[in-house]
Point group: C2
Chain length 226, copies 2
């Protein structure tokens, strides 16, 4: 699924160079359940954005399902993002003027579902994350953990084959976090691929393979469960 070779990303700030990714090699097969861990600022979100085609590296290659991502045009990239990948952003990235329901429906519009079908899928996803009674609230009318759950519902609603989740439970109490964990287990059992950035030990423990990042490099990469 993912084949990344010697990927680098450097930000230049005046005379400073921030090496966000400093030579990353990564190979991910379909159906894997991977956790990415590491200190704050180590490059996890940057790597996730590359995998999700939201950003481009300065050097190195990225083959997604056998196709070189750097050869794709904007239209092809947008198509991949809306059809193949569900993304839970670390900062949620909800649209402030849309309700929870409209936010969750948004990716489904690009996939061509009927209005009736979209509404049904979005309501079901919001119900799954425990927000059935908050569907018409806008982001400013939701608690921090509720906004986070809307972001999760939006990523899951279209049942994407690849789920990229960046800290999906950072604002949730233990019980609600466990419900999200169970949801991810189920999605993985159905054959989907999950790549999860998390600081939560329990969530990380659920994954089958654990990748540890430090200073823009992968320092450990091992199978941890069968």
């Amino acid at each position: 699924l993912v084949d990344i070779n010697n990927m680098k990303k450097t930000y230049v700030m005046g005379s400073n160079m921030v090496r966000a990714l400093d030579g990353v090699d990564l190979n991910i097969k379909h159906g894997e359940y991977i956790s990415i861990v590491g200190p704050s600022g180590s490059g996890k979100s940057t790597l996730m954005n590359m995998i999700g085609c939201l950003d481009a590296p300065d050097s190195g290659s990225y083959m997604l399902d056998g196709v070189d991502v750097s050869d794709m045009n904007d239209k092809e990239l947008a198509e991949i993002r809306s059809e193949k990948i569900g993304f839970v952003f670390q900062g949620f990235n909800l649209l402030p003027r849309l309700t929870a329901l409209e936010n969750v429906e948004l990716p489904l519009i690009y996939r061509g579902y009927s209005h009736k079908k979209r509404r049904e899928m979005a309501l079901e996803a919001l119900d799954r994350v425990g927000l059935g009674d908050r569907v018409h609230h806008k982001p400013t009318e939701l608690s921090g953990g509720q906004m986070q759950r809307v972001a999760v519902a939006r990523a899951l609603a279209g049942n994407p084959p690849v789920l990229l989740a960046d800290e999906p439970t950072g604002n949730l109490d233990t019980n609600t976090g466990k419900e999200i964990l169970a949801m991810l287990e189920k999605i993985h059992d159905q054959g989907n691929t999950i790549i999860l950035i998390t600081h939560d030990k329990e969530l990380a423990g659920q994954a089958k393979r654990r990748i540890e990042i430090r200073d823009g490099r992968i320092i450990h990469d091992e199978e941890v469960r069968k």
Copy 2:
């Protein structure tokens, strides 16, 4: 310090009533170290915003240091917020066009510190949270956990007698979170008051008193440590 009686806050959404705070009684003395826990959406941030004078209840009273908050004018409230209270917001609330350093200096400007003194205090606070090499980055040039730490530094820089921290470690790895924990311990030892909303068991375990909220009501309130 804080004396809250039968506080209520209800949001009306069409025909729905969301009782965010449903009759809260709370008494907090100077120098206490309190954790507020409870499920996502239970009313923790709403209560914190009331304590920090950022919001006003529909009914009930709030005496802060013996003065009725509902009697205060905007100028007095602003003064309290900038001089007595340091606030770490759940959503960070950093100004996107200012650097980390400028964001941390902002509350110090209102307190009348000289330019030189402000810069010194802000640099020291950023250094304490491990961001000494990120001071000129804007929020979009920082990782999620780095933004969170800027929010913590901004609250601590002016050494406020009361610290209100809403989920200050949700985006941090365990080690960085422990450093924030140690910082809070130290601030408390110096005699300051800390009120902390957290889902983190370790952070909650550090507090001396634990308040549990559910559906807008306090269901437990007990001393847990000496």
